[in-house]
Amino acid sequence: MTWWTWPGLRGAVLEQIPGRLLDIGAGGCCLETPTRLASGTFGFVEVQGPDASIAEVARVCDVTERPGAAAPFLVRLEFLPIALPAGLGVSDRRTRAPEGSLAAAAEKAGPSLTLVRRRRSNGEVESVESAHSAPDSHGYATPERPGEPLAERLKK
């Protein structure tokens, strides 16, 4: 039986919305986006700085509309204590990061932010651990299921 013949068919689209990071903390971040996101929407946010990237499961807390702005929506996201897939990398938080950088923010925040990649001086990108799998992480992490897409887990 093929999918389009299934009775009671329901659908969900995975949308990828670009944004610009305004500020970030251990509990969440604030982005400028061209698209409105409804409060309460769950999603996955990845922030790419010049020296590092972070990835978190997040929930939209608040949206402010700024008519006339190039990116008219100010979206505040709360990071959720849900473990990221194990495939995101291995631990290395010991290297000091430049002050004011995204990597430094993640370093200060400890296990609350998930640093997933860091760019070496030669431009190569290396993997860094999903902080939620660290021993000193919070206690809410779900068991790792590498084979299951994150989008599937978000729908549960």
Binding site: W4, G11, I17, A26, G27, F44, H138
Partner: protein, 94 residues
């Protein structure tokens, strides 16, 4: 652990948010799918769609928007999106 007690760090960077938005499927075939969505999609935009049905059946499709039209549904602004099914990535039954 209350992560809100931690500090706030100003920095800059590009961000991408991935969200799952429910859509109502109006019509579906092997090649095309028509949905009613809360958000518009640009013609030509490619995205992934998960379709599911009773019994835990799920399939993930790669689709491309071929057209969109705003319309009112119950007094709410919605968009009718016509999509071309590019490929089926997986199909599972739980």
């Amino acid at each position: 652990m209350d992560r809100r007690r931690h500090g706030r760090y100003h920095t800059e960077g590009f961000a991408e948010v991935q969200v799952l938005r429910d859509v109502d499927i109006v019509r579906a075939s092997a090649r095309e799918i028509t949905v009613i969505s809360r958000s518009r999609a640009a013609t030509g935009a490619e995205m992934r769609m998960r379709v599911s049905a009773a019994g835990g059946r799920q399939a993930t499709l790669r689709v491309r928007t071929t057209g969109s039209q705003p319309q009112l549904v119950g007094g709410q602004l919605r968009y009718r999106l016509w999509m071309q099914v590019l490929s089926q990535e997986s199909e599972v039954t739980r």
